[in-house]
Subunit: 496 residues, 4 copies
């Protein structure tokens, strides 16, 4: 009797939502919540993204406008990481005075609504700081710099100059939101212009960057009931949080149920057959999908809370919020595969990927050793001669691209034939690496996957190897006869 | 007796054109019409395309010429979606006056035959419109803009300015056609120059665009019999329409025939064997190729009619016409594969693709979920930092390209290391996506296709599994003996 | 007796050079000639190429120098197919006068040894021709142009102007050869500058091109015995011709021998077994490699003769010569595979490629239909919106690149979202094409090749299917016993 | 008895470190040394690379600064291999004077600490050398040049001018190291500016390059104990050398042991079974991994010594040092695979790659012939029309990239349709090459690898074929029974 009850409970536990409904008329709440969640999380993400886009483009255009206004000779495109570079003392002076001149007549120049920022009724000053190496003795424990901040324009160019920093603050207003009947956002831009001479190579690099802090507009008179839509958004976010929490709770409940069932089953096995439940069977009870769903839910809840904070202007860090929301959405969509796995024909593919994964990872490990070796070797030898080999992470990316057939010719071509030894080395390096990886490694991946696919297909016709648990589920008597249903239940076993 | 007649009719229906001719001396009219259609539709498309090309290049060069004439400081290449951008009030005024100056002395400037457009003997005016946000209260239901059109040059730059639009009309004549002894086309260009300040970011974007309306030239005296070739073209188009219609009629007839045969066969089965015709057999009668041909014919007819309208200058929308003509040509060429399927060796390949298609689509569905998840996640997190992740469709395209090994290094490289957290996320995101798709998903496609190919090859040696219909076609007695012909007819069955 | 002699002759004919030497001590002349030929032809090609390179770079630099000297505002890089474009009447006049001014003071300007060309002691004149459409009636049979050549600078800009051509001739000398102790070459450059207004779109395109005619330097006093090395080259070329001719003669002889043997064998078969020789066996006698060698030899001889003419300055067309030499070298290297086929392990691969080829071609044929359809469709619909779809051959190339995973993102990205309908069409078009070809077609290629490889591997262990000829070669009695040698000779049969 | 001892010794020799420890409690010194080596060599490489990077960026920025200072009209980006090019005599004079002017006022111009270099208290002079062809007779044995060095500015432009060289020396100091509390390095830059007219094509190419010689700073007063960290580095390098040497010694000892064992085994075989040891078994004794390790150790030692020399400023050649260090690191990481091979599941993959390698190489050989043919043919025919086909090595790289699906469209697109014959040839050439290699050759690689993988998988289930040595190791009696351990030891045999 106990055996039959346990068997029934286990069978029920391993059923698909559809079968559960057929057997015990249990409505698939969990499934419904998941489907609702997919739509809500995706919608929330899209709304957040569209809003984000406006803010980002506003900041980017402001940055560009400032560069055009304050950097003399700025061409509209940045060189490398800095905006422009100057090579003569005269042009350093000119650039410096240009910044100050433009700043002083900003109101008449700019087409945007930028103006000087105030604090407590006073304008924030423009500050010029000069950093140079200290003359005289340098103690190891000491900072080797002299920093000297000035408010006037005159300054002297010394051989020991490290950099000059100009900082000032400007105000701006983002009127775009007015069109969607929302309140405009006000921004304070803390602009910092750096003349970087730290390399002492005869090239001074100019960079302009700012921190944009958004705040509620004060001195602007805006009437009308423009603020409502924000309320709707907050309500929507709250609803998303509720759905995610309920999804997490339902999944946690299922996991707890599973652990209890496992305990019952293992004590049953110990009593009746004096056998421990094997590890494979134990793993059946630990459903990885549930864990994925819970993680995704937790991330979505955190992301939604952060999003509400951003909307309330009490936080400006979009990145953390978007990483949480983005990752949870990715997981939610990946989770859909679980439900596709309930259809037998889709299941083959999922099982194949699951069966191939450990082999692929193991092989990645082997190939990774060679890859690492090539990365280090390429960085040290070719780094000084090729932009793509300048940093370790860049080398890794470059080699990864080469393996996948990208940017090969340009990688070859950028080596000049100046240094014959290095040129020959680069040829040997690139040809050997590409041939090895594309012709050997990638082909072996295909062999691995093909092999896994054929194994799974073979199981489908001859039946999957059965475990203790499955034999128990069938009941010993039926085990020989009901072959067809075995297969069905095996698939399920893999797909859950 | 009835059985024999039905069997004969069915056999005849499933024969290839060649066999039909051998058996009943029926000439393959349908085949002949199809072959004629391929040549005619392709020829028509090429003629239309060559003509289209001239018009397109004429418009493009005019656009470029106008940009060079009217936009101050235009470098010959557009920045992003706009032509140039200006950052100071002074340069906005300068650009504005430049447009008006250039417009007023256009006749002396332009090397082309452009002149001011007239309507009813009067010159169309140049209009300048200024749009700015309304001062004062904004009701949610109201448009928040003030629009103010002026004819003079003086205008004031306000903080609330949204955009300035300058519109005017010019005439042009496309003399290229004279060389092929055709009449020249006259064009009216409705030019619109926009100073876009809607972002209020300190950057005003200038765009120039026009609507070109072609018309019959009036004030030009052109003599000679240049117009004839158009007549020939119209006759040719008419002939194409006739061929397509007759092809469509023939295919419709075949489908009707098939439906009748199916009815006879199913009533016969019901009477004699008390069996319903299974779905697989029913599908044999519904020939997908015929449907493809009919769709293609209908599109070709619509396209040809639109083409005639364009030639008669009563329509200027090339795009709709070209989509109809292009799609029908694509379908016609794809239809050729059907006839290649009558050769056994070609048939293997077609059957393989047909057998693999559902599996491939099913797998695309699984992979598509992960793909969608990555798309949303990439857009929200990386969008603000990378041009390629700016819009949802762009992200999808970028990921699709990455899967196929394109533009990988540049995707990696464009992330600056400014924001370490996002940089790390981008690495994890890209490496995981690319590895998963290239090493797992693409390899599995190969496994699927290889498997399908081997299945079909196996059938070729052991014989395809037979359906009811085929057994009936053979006649029960012959069924065991005539093994060779089974195979032949099975192939046919698949290829039709 | 006759049978034994015939069998021996046949066996000898189908032996490898090595076996021939072992059996009848026949030295492998043909092989020796081939090896000699490979080295000589490659050496000849390299010498020709290095010489060619000097001439090409000399011409290219001259072209660039002329563009910089004569085209006003030339930036050093060509726009599209033309050098620069101008948009106002004033800049057309300026460019025109600039050409004439620069030409008149060329001697003081140019850093190269360019000077005015003379003919019979008189300087060749600078000629300006103006082409415009005829006013008045245009008869279909008539040329619609008025051409008007002038020698002075004044000219009037009319609305019907089609183009202006300026032609003049300059002399130059290539002194680079002096360094390798050869005589310098003298060149006459017939320069042609075109102001192209044929599109009448308000954009005049300027192009500069020249014909460079090389000749023996006359007015230069060069002493020394610099000319010798040319003699050596001519002797070397002659030697190459002799080697190629002897190779061709040897191969022709082998083919004639084969035909005679075939006749003897077929008459023997007819007499003794009353059987015709099957087509497969007949094909054994026709050695494709010999035909390849003969074609390659003929091309090498023609190429060498052309090369000698070029060295003797009686011809300047490098292209024809290089195509002949290049193709023959390609064939000679491909021919090496034949000798690799004598080693059993290499043979597997060659046989696989040979076995897979017809299937691959057949499949290319099917895929080609879809490819053609897409080409036409893409050209007509996307041509006006995308540079890559402008011409039919370009579309074909673009699609071919896409299939192989190149330039995908940029193809997607270049479509602007201006015209939504075309944008949607382009997405459907590109996604469907790429998916179909990369995931279905390319995978099927792999399936085909893998299948062919397994077939050949199977043959290697179980023995290749034997033909009549091979049974005869073995002698009926031995046929059953000497299984090992069958395999060996079968391989040979395939590899020849 | 001897047999048993020999068998035990042999068994012990072929054991993995883990088994050795279990059997004879022998600690795995070699393994420990290897692991230590991996970390130390990688750390050393990273330290060297980071240091190297600073120096390289310092030199690069200086080069850029000099180009901006001394080359008139330099845009910041090099054209091809030269910096800028000039086309008129006047601009040659201007550029020349500009160099001298800028040089004379360097101190007031440059933002870097560059100053005139001195030797023995005297400033090194600026030297201008002019090289032109000799007038008059040229003897083959003679140099055809006149070289003329001047110190003043006036010079005459002759038609025979080959080039002008300006050389001078400047001093600089790299202060970046001060930040990491190290002594700054002083540099002397021997700058050389060349006006290259050797082509006499009307285009003079300007190049600027320098040799940077680093030396200890003399006239700078730097106090503090900044030098210590260098000492630590030297100690670390010494430690690396010791580890590498001990690793090399341990491996050499193992090889000697192996040779002795082989001698014992072969004499035993000769005595007892009157058999020679077969080559396969002999190869078992020669462990390739040991040789790899020894080579890597030797290179690491040499590299470390060179690195110490560089740190001691007695050598400036980074390249040789980095090649030694890089290659040794690559080998060390590849060596890790050996230890992964001790795990059975990893071993499959390693064995597959090993089994496939000879076939892949053999096939590369066949494909290489066609590849070579295409390389020569492409170079000679397409070289003059396409940048990518200019040199033999470039053609090889371009074709290699095409095979891997890179840069295909741009290769197609760069051919202009100027010369129709060459254009047609280029299409035939590219389509045939790409199709042949991507659809035939690459697919065959996959077939080869798949085949090898299946062979190895088959061995794993049925047991690897046994050699004499393995039978001996098992002992004849056990040979039949202990099947499982055979497999284990076979794997080991392959993996060692």
């Amino acid at each position: 009797m106990t055996e039959e009850i346990l068997r029934d409970d286990l069978r029920f536990y391993f059923m698909s939502p559809c079968e559960k409904y057929k057997t015990r008329r249990q409505l698939p709440w969990k499934l419904a919540v998941q489907i609702l969640k997919i739509f809500m999380i995706t919608l929330q993400l899209i709304l957040f993204g569209l809003n984000n886009q406006l803010v980002v483009s506003y900041k980017e255009e402001n940055l560009l406008a400032f560069k055009n206004l304050f950097l003399k000779g700025y061409s509209g495109v940045d060189e490398d990481d800095y905006s422009i570079s100057v090579y003569t003392k005269q042009s350093v002076y000119d650039s410096l005075h240009y910044v100050i001149d433009q700043y002083s007549q900003l109101r008449n120049l700019s087409v945007g609504p930028a103006s000087y920022a105030e604090e407590n009724g006073e304008f924030l000053p423009l500050i010029i700081c000069k950093k140079s190496y200290k003359r005289g003795s340098v103690e190891p424990s000491e900072e080797p710099y002299d920093i000297d901040c000035i408010n006037c324009k005159f300054f002297d160019f010394s051989r020991l100059l490290v950099d000059i920093e100009i900082t000032f603050a400007l105000k701006g207003i983002n009127l775009q939101t007015v069109r969607s009947h929302e309140l405009p956002d006000c921004y304070t831009f803390f602009v910092k212009i750096v003349f970087d001479n730290s390399c002492h190579s005869g090239k001074v690099k100019l960079t302009l960057d700012f921190d944009a802090v958004s705040s509620v507009c004060k001195n602007w008179k805006i009437s009308g009931t423009a603020q409502k839509s924000t309320h709707y958004l907050l309500i929507f976010d709250g609803f998303v949080i509720i759905v995610c929490l309920s999804s997490a709770v339902l999944c946690t409940r299922s996991i707890i149920l599973a652990v209890r069932l496992l305990q019952r089953f293992s004590s049953f096995c110990l009593e009746n057959y004096n056998q421990k439940v094997c590890e494979d069977d134990q793993r059946e009870f630990l459903n990885c999908w549930y864990i994925l769903v819970i993680i995704s839910d937790v991330m979505a809840v955190i992301g939604s809370i952060l999003k509400m904070e951003i909307q309330a202007k009490s936080m400006t860090n979009y990145d953390v919020c978007s990483i949480f929301l983005g990752t949870s959405t990715l997981m939610v969509w990946v989770g859909v595969i679980r439900y596709l796995g309930y259809f037998e024909k889709y299941n083959v593919l999922i099982l194949t990927m699951r069966a191939a994964l450990p082999k692929v990872l193991r092989f990645c490990c082997c190939a990774g050793m060679i890859y690492l070796g090539y990365t280090f070797c390429g960085w040290i030898v070719l780094g000084p001669y090729h932009e793509k080999f300048e940093g370790l992470s860049r080398v890794a990316e470059c080699l990864f691209s080469l393996v996948n057939g990208d940017d090969m010719f340009s990688t070859f071509a950028e080596f000049e034939q100046k240094n014959t030894m290095v040129w020959l080395f680069s040829r040997a390096y690139l040809y050997s690496f590409i041939s090895l990886f594309i012709y050997m490694v990638l082909s072996l991946f295909i062999a691995l996957i093909t092999d896994a696919y054929e194994t799974i297909k073979g199981y489908q016709t001859t039946g999957f190897p059965m475990t203790e648990l499955q034999r128990f589920l069938l009941g010993q008597k039926e085990a020989e006869t009901v072959h067809a249903s075995v297969m069905l239940c095996c698939c399920k076993r893999y797909s859950i």
